[in-house]
């Protein structure tokens, strides 16, 4: 037998190992599920880690209310298939409770507001570990984050006080009120995720594939026309063939023009593409330290 793990097998084995460490080390873990391809990949990895048993954690979805309809359809169908528990935290509830205020202006988005809903949901259910699908290749601040990333009771990440993380030993010890964000696919790249999805024949929400959609061009990027986007007479709605490379909510996720109808097309497109994935996220463009600042504040 050939004793060589292919890179996808190695990444898979590492992620399964990390998920099982979460199960073994924490009392009340949760898996943060966004409906995006990375968290969908996590669900598949959790099946590999724990079947035929149940997942030792529920899935948690922070719902901004500005979702692509396709994401919610996908989520509900997936939950039916896997038979696990889903908890939804609504940003609308945080708005109604007066904990956050809706942004105004043309580029208004609920992206920043969901941090509050996330932290409230963690507190309500007393989650001590939240598994997320973030990857180190996405962004500079993420490149420095640990696989077990401790957050204080205010949900904050302190990049200067990270615990050393050696070998395959993950220290999940925390004080009451703190929690740990765990990133099992830290070492995967965007292309790795897509290759894995292809290999495992994982179904994805349809918005990842090219389709005709009404869009407007804003700040040089294509945004899906929707009632959630503050539009005015300067915004010209046109029909284009597009797909989405990441799935945030409708106000912060830009589309790319694409004719990639199949997963093979997408992999070809990404291999050839010279625009990195977060380049299509308006939320990172604010400043060079945009992600670092949001992470310090408790973002995913």
């Amino acid at each position: 037998m050939k004793h060589q793990l292919d890179y996808l097998d190695e990444l898979e084995a590492e992620a399964i190992y990390i998920l099982r460490e979460v199960a073994g080390q924490f009392e009340k873990p949760a898996l943060l599920f966004s409906g995006g391809k990375d968290s969908i990949t996590l669900v598949r990895l959790a099946e590999k880690a724990f079947r035929p048993g149940k997942f030792p954690f529920p899935l948690v979805h922070i719902d901004t209310g500005h979702n692509f309809a396709e994401t919610i359809e996908y989520r509900d169908a997936m939950m039916k298939r896997i038979g696990e528990k889903l908890i939804v935290g609504y940003v609308q509830d945080s708005i109604d409770e007066g904990k956050v205020v809706e942004q105004k202006g043309k580029n208004a988005s609920r992206n920043a507001l969901q941090t509050v809903t996330l932290l409230d949901t963690i507190a309500k259910y007393q989650f001590d570990a939240c598994i997320g699908g973030a990857r180190r290749d996405e962004e500079k601040a993420r490149a420095k984050e640990r696989i077990f990333s401790v957050r204080d009771e205010f949900g904050q990440w302190d990049p200067k006080r990270q615990r050393p993380e050696l070998w395959n030993i993950f220290n999940g010890k925390i004080h009451k009120g703190e929690n740990v964000r765990v990133f099992p696919i830290s070492n995967w790249t965007e292309l790795d995720v897509w290759n894995y999805i292809r290999r495992e024949k994982i179904e994805l929400p349809t918005i990842y594939f090219a389709h005709e959609r009404e869009v407007i061009t804003r700040n040089g990027q294509l945004m899906a026309a929707s009632p959630f986007l503050n539009m005015d007479e300067q915004d010209v709605v046109e029909k284009r063939n597009v797909r989405f490379r990441t799935v945030g909510d409708m106000t912060c996720t830009a589309a790319v023009e694409s004719y990639a109808f199949q997963i093979d097309d997408i992999i070809d497109e990404i291999s050839a593409s010279r625009i990195s994935e977060r380049g299509a996220r308006m939320d990172d463009k604010v400043s060079e330290a945009a992600m670092e600042d949001r992470k310090k504040g408790g973002y995913f």
Binding site: Y7, E12, A13, A143, K160, R163, P164, E288
Partner: protein, 416 residues
């Protein structure tokens, strides 16, 4: 295609970040928007070219101070291999970060400034690479453009380094003269150093072989989690979930559970719907045994023909990682694979001056100190010697007051 994980050791001034930036840049691993962000930035080299070091500096403080504080991970791939770089800081006050990055690396690049040659920090970095058991080392003699691409300068440094390598016990060392700033011998062979007959750095990284121990003798499987669905149709299902840390297991292999010492044999190996005949180092699987015995997280399955050490009193090398010094009167926690138990540092045998490699005899053990200690654990650990089996010979110390990881241990011997 496999993955090579490597670290880069060297300090700010050696051009370490520039070297990584150059690898990414010349192998076309930088994406367009990252490149734009790079060009937007106002940090430039003296000749006006892009400062490639920016690609690895992630945190605000690092950009402000132009230094690397923490371990940054970078990813790139060529047609031959995927690479994960742990970019670690070189200053002595960040020794713990280098130890952290080195713990998972298969290879280390040690940077030497051609103008300075082998200096104190080269000794330190080489010692750490050896301590952490990284088997392959590539010494990049950098800034060759600043010494007129001189072969004599290169030869002198290689000779000096060979003496050092022998002293710290590094066996597989490769040497390459480079200029990270200009790109000589990084991805493409240099036109300025025709006297150098070896390969470029990238070519070496693509082709170097990394040996992994897949022997049955070193089969180790720490149990992370027990899968027990307890449903009607899976009433008696009991699977041990974990990742093979070293060696390999096959169905019917006789195994021993440690520390309890019970014996059984493997009835099935599973991964979701697959049933691989063999599980080898690196694979995450679920193992079933023929007999029903009490096994839980923290136990380890090993091949019965070759057992690890089982002991409570252990000699180990320790790297201290916390600002609060080691307190030998205090009870700490030790985490080894999936097992956590209490421990005490019973004795500091010696400390090593990591700049001169001399042994020092003092009991205080502060941040970044490295030395030999004797540790006593509340429950026995089933471990291999770190030099024989990294995966089963490393452990961490946790301060139960702060829950922070305060020490890295390389287990060296069981004490009778």
């Amino acid at each position: 295609m496999d993955i090579l994980k490597f670290i880069t050791a060297g300090s700010v001034d050696d051009g370490k970040s520039t070297l990584i930036g150059r690898l990414l840049y010349d192998s076309e691993s930088i994406l367009l928007d990252q490149l734009e962000a790079l060009q937007r930035s106002n940090r430039k080299n003296d000749d006006g070219s892009i400062d490639l070091a920016i690609l690895t500096d992630g945190l605000k403080a690092e950009r402000e101070q132009g230094i690397t504080i923490d371990v940054a991970y970078k990813y790139f791939q060529t047609e031959k291999r995927k690479f994960i770089i742990a970019d670690t800081p070189g200053h002595i006050q960040y020794t713990r970060n280098m130890v952290t990055g080195a713990s998972n690396a298969n290879l280390a690049i040690i940077l030497i400034d051609a103008r300075k040659g082998v200096i104190e920090q080269t000794i330190r970095h080489s010692f750490l690479v050896s301590l952490l058991g990284i088997s392959q080392v590539v010494v990049c003699i950098n800034k060759m453009d600043m010494v007129d691409f001189s072969e004599d300068v290169y030869d002198k440094i290689v000779a000096d380094y060979k003496a050092l390598a022998e002293k710290v016990g590094l066996k597989h060392v490769h040497y390459i003269p480079v200029s990270a700033l200009k790109g000589d011998n990084i991805v493409n062979k240099s036109f300025n150093m025709s006297w150098y007959k070896g390969e470029s750095l990238l070519h070496l990284l693509e082709t170097i072989e990394v040996k992994v121990d897949y022997s049955r003798a070193h089969a180790r499987f720490p149990v992370q989690w027990v899968i027990r669905p307890q449903t009607e149709e899976l009433h008696d299902y009991r699977g041990y979930a974990g990742r093979v840390s070293s060696g390999s297991f096959k169905v019917d292999d006789k195994v021993t559970v440690l520390p309890s010492g019970f014996h059984s044999s493997i009835s099935k190996i599973e991964l979701l719907d697959e049933e691989p005949a063999e599980a080898f180092a690196g694979m995450s699987v679920t193992i079933h045994l023929k007999d029903e015995i009490d096994i839980s997280r923290g136990d380890v399955l090993v091949n019965s023909s070759n057992k690890p050490e089982v002991a409570q009193l252990i000699e180990a090398d320790l790297c201290w990682m916390d600002t609060r010094p080691l307190d030998t009167s205090l009870m700490y926690l030790i985490q080894h694979n999936s097992k956590v138990t209490r421990c005490k540092i019973q004795e500091v045998v010696y400390k090593v001056n990591i700049n001169t490699l001399e042994k020092e005899f003092s009991d205080d053990f502060k941040l970044n100190d490295i030395g030999r200690i004797v540790i006593k654990t509340a429950e026995a650990l089933a471990f291999d010697l770190y030099q024989d089996n990294k995966a089963n010979g490393g452990a961490i110390i946790i301060d139960s007051r702060t829950n922070v990881t305060v020490g890295a241990l390389m287990l060296r011997a069981a004490v009778d």
